[in-house]
């Protein structure tokens, strides 16, 4: 048993799987000697060699397209895009090929790749370094989108993503890369994909969130508890496909639903979760489904970014509005 921050957990999972499965390769910009700009791949090249921990030329479409080629040859590439803001050039390859290789060849070929990227705001980074555009991937059929919210879940979910026989986008909430440490055993045990994690049981209100925003969500829930509002907090974790069952059962119990995320509101994964509840859980509801999200604006540069991100305060206010409805 050791202590891991979220970024250390990512590193441990990569390290474990590179050792356990020789078809795993890691590739991306600066993943080698530098160990990644956040150190996710720290020391991996020294341990597994330049051939398996590959510094690529600076070309995101190449990184994704090359991973697809490797995957058709039975490799399990884990590609890093340095920041989610630079993932768009890889999107074409991902949607046109990664997500369709199995389908268009009727299973003859497949694409067991992972596309990792740090995402989200709040670290006072430059332009394009604070993106939360998971919704764009969540619309793509044939893939999985996974977002961990703690070191242990990062470890278990990343292992699951690498082992999954289909393409997975694995988005890491960089704001909490080093926020807290968790103790677990580096034993290669994966967590299940396609399911949510209920982080807090409650009876008054279901709050669905993912990634770094669970910090504020859990904080708000603690404070709300002291005011007598008992929140159930669900970590969505698998952004695609969504585990509807857990959410709907929770809403059936609580009768109220709020979704919290830092992405721009319109067309966000919060909208998808709300639509699911509105379609299949409407009769349980006592109150509207609220989305507490980023605004439909560009994520501002660092001076204003804290005003963009949903705050604990904002979540609490929304919860109170729901309870008073």
């Amino acid at each position: 048993m050791s202590q891991y921050t979220l970024i250390e957990a990512v590193n441990a999972a990569l390290d474990y799987e590179l050792a356990a499965d020789e078809s795993v390769v890691v590739l991306g910009e600066d993943v080698g000697a530098n160990g990644g700009v956040f150190r996710a791949t720290d020391k991996l090249q020294t341990r597994f060699g330049e051939d398996r921990v590959i510094d690529t030329p600076l070309a995101e479409s190449l990184i994704c397209g090359m991973s697809i080629g490797l995957a058709t040859q039975g490799f399990k590439p884990v590609a890093e895009i340095q920041f989610m803001g630079f993932i768009y050039a890889a999107f074409d390859q991902f949607i046109c090929h990664a997500s369709r290789m199995r389908n268009r060849t009727r299973g003859r070929l497949s694409c067991p790749m992972v596309l990792r990227a740090p995402f989200g705001g709040g670290i006072h980074a430059p332009e394009h370094h604070s993106e939360s555009t998971e919704a764009i991937f969540a619309h793509v059929p044939g893939i999985r989108v996974v977002i961990p919210s703690s070191p242990a879940r990062a470890y278990g979910l990343l292992l699951a993503a690498i082992r999954d026989p289909d393409p997975v986008v694995f988005l890491e909430p960089k704001r909490i890369y080093r926020a807290q440490s968790e103790t677990f055993e580096n034993n290669g045990e994966a967590l299940p994909l396609d399911v949510c994690f209920t982080l807090r049981q409650g009876s008054d209100l279901t709050i669905v969130s993912w990634g770094a925003m669970l910090q504020e969500t859990l904080q708000a829930s603690e404070q709300l508890a002291q005011m007598g509002i008992d929140c159930e907090v669900i970590d969505l974790a698998s952004i695609k496909p969504i585990d509807k069952k857990t959410i709907l059962e929770s809403v059936e119990k609580t009768g109220r639903c709020m979704i919290v995320c830092e992405a721009a509101k319109s067309g966000s994964v919060a909208s998808e979760a709300a639509a699911i509840v509105a379609e299949e859980g409407l009769t349980s509801l006592f109150a509207p489904i609220l989305r507490v999200t980023g605004y439909d604006t560009v994520m501002p540069l660092l001076k204003l970014e804290q005003h963009y991100l949903p705050s604990t305060e904002k979540i609490m206010q929304a919860a109170k509005r729901l309870m008073e409805f």
């Binding site: 080629g69 058709t72 040859q73 060849t105 009727r106 069952k245």
Partner: protein
């Protein structure tokens, strides 16, 4: 001022447009191009043309969807298929039926695909070849991964990837060339320059004198050949593939050809293309060029040509019949290959499909 780098692009042609051979017999034999081999090429090209003609006819009668003819490109495309080994991996565009047929893809499969049935890409023979690729030039990046896999596993295998003259303008083409150079991967890039990207002529696609020179940007050995000259295609592809297999790194071949048909059955080239240019191009086409040469040498006779044509047509006819007799996939097929194991969310939607909800 000092000169720090020098480059040149060579062009090779052995069998000219008038079917004169500019190569001595010894070189021909050394290249493995004995009469039997050339007849084999000729027959293959006949088959491809018969297939292609039939495919267009099937589209016109509503039995397949939009179809991109490979008319005029038979030499380079068959040569790729015939110079590759079974263990190699081919990464086609969408106009590469000829190569796929040489690789073992059946006509039945090709008709299925163009008929709108995914099973056509479930190749029964060339199982590691990539499927047809529609988003232009994106396959070039896949070839990097495929060839990297070969290199990492120390396998003596080669990836051959094709794109068109238009395709060379895409970023993916270049990103791949550059990466192939960086890692000295066993890849042969073949640019089939058929002079047109739908309605955009080669000259508007790039100011480059040659498309071959684009390889220089990736540090990749590059050359130009007459892509309608079966002999040049065979010799230069064989050399490039052998080199890649031996670990001598990637190369790029620009094969000069001409798209004798419309872009696809949905296109009408007369809107943008000069009739005279087309008429001239017909004079350089590969099949008759080889035919005349073989007739001249006495390796072929009119009677043999007739027999070969009948054989080819018969084979195509049989494939058409087997294609037309194929029962459609059940509508649920669209769900089956989305994931290895169907997630619950999809199961529910599949139920809805089955219940017509």
């Amino acid at each position: 001022m000092i000169t720090v780098a020098k480059f040149s692009i060579n062009f090779s042609q052995y069998l000219d447009a008038d079917s004169n051979l500019h190569l001595d017999n010894q070189a021909l034999t050394q290249a493995g191009l004995d009469p039997a081999r050339l007849l084999d090429y000729y027959q293959a090209m006949l088959l491809v043309r018969s297939y292609d003609t039939k495919a267009i006819a099937l589209q016109r009668t509503g039995r397949i969807g939009t179809y991109p003819s490979c008319l005029g490109q038979e030499a380079i495309s068959t040569a790729i298929g015939k110079t590759m080994q079974a263990c190699d991996v081919f990464l086609p565009g969408y106009r590469d039926a000829a190569t796929l047929l040489m690789r073992g893809t059946t006509m039945h499969e090709l008709f299925l695909y163009w008929g709108g049935d995914e099973r056509g890409m479930d190749f029964s023979h060339n199982k590691e070849d990539l499927p047809y690729n529609v988003p232009i030039a994106s396959q070039c990046c896949h070839s990097i991964g495929v060839a990297y896999a070969f290199k990492l596993r120390k396998q003596p295998r080669v990836a051959v990837v094709v794109c068109g003259d238009g395709g060379t303008s895409e970023g993916d083409f270049y990103e791949a060339l550059n990466a192939a150079g960086t890692w000295q991967l066993p890849i042969v890039f073949v640019v089939i320059n058929n002079q047109w990207a739908i309605s955009v002529p080669r000259a508007k696609q790039s100011y480059c004198q040659t498309l071959a020179q684009k390889g220089i940007a990736g540090g990749v050995a590059s050359e130009q050949i007459d892509g309608n000259d079966t002999i040049a295609c065979h010799i230069h592809l064989q050399r490039a593939i052998d080199n890649a297999r031996k670990g001598n790194g990637p190369s790029l071949i620009e094969a000069i050809s001409y798209r004798l048909g419309d872009h696809t059955t949905a296109d009408d080239a007369s809107r943008y293309r000069d009739q005279e240019e087309l008429a001239n191009a017909w004079k350089k086409e590969p099949l008759v060029r080889l035919e005349k040469y073989l007739l001249k040498r006495g390796d072929l006779t009119d009677a043999k040509i007739e027999t070969f044509k009948q054989q080819a047509n018969a084979q195509v006819k049989q494939s058409v019949e087997s294609y037309l007799a194929t029962p459609a996939q059940d509508k649920s097929a669209m769900f089956e290959y989305m994931y290895e194991t169907m997630p619950d969310a999809l199961k529910e939607q599949l139920d809805q499909l089955n219940q017509n909800k």
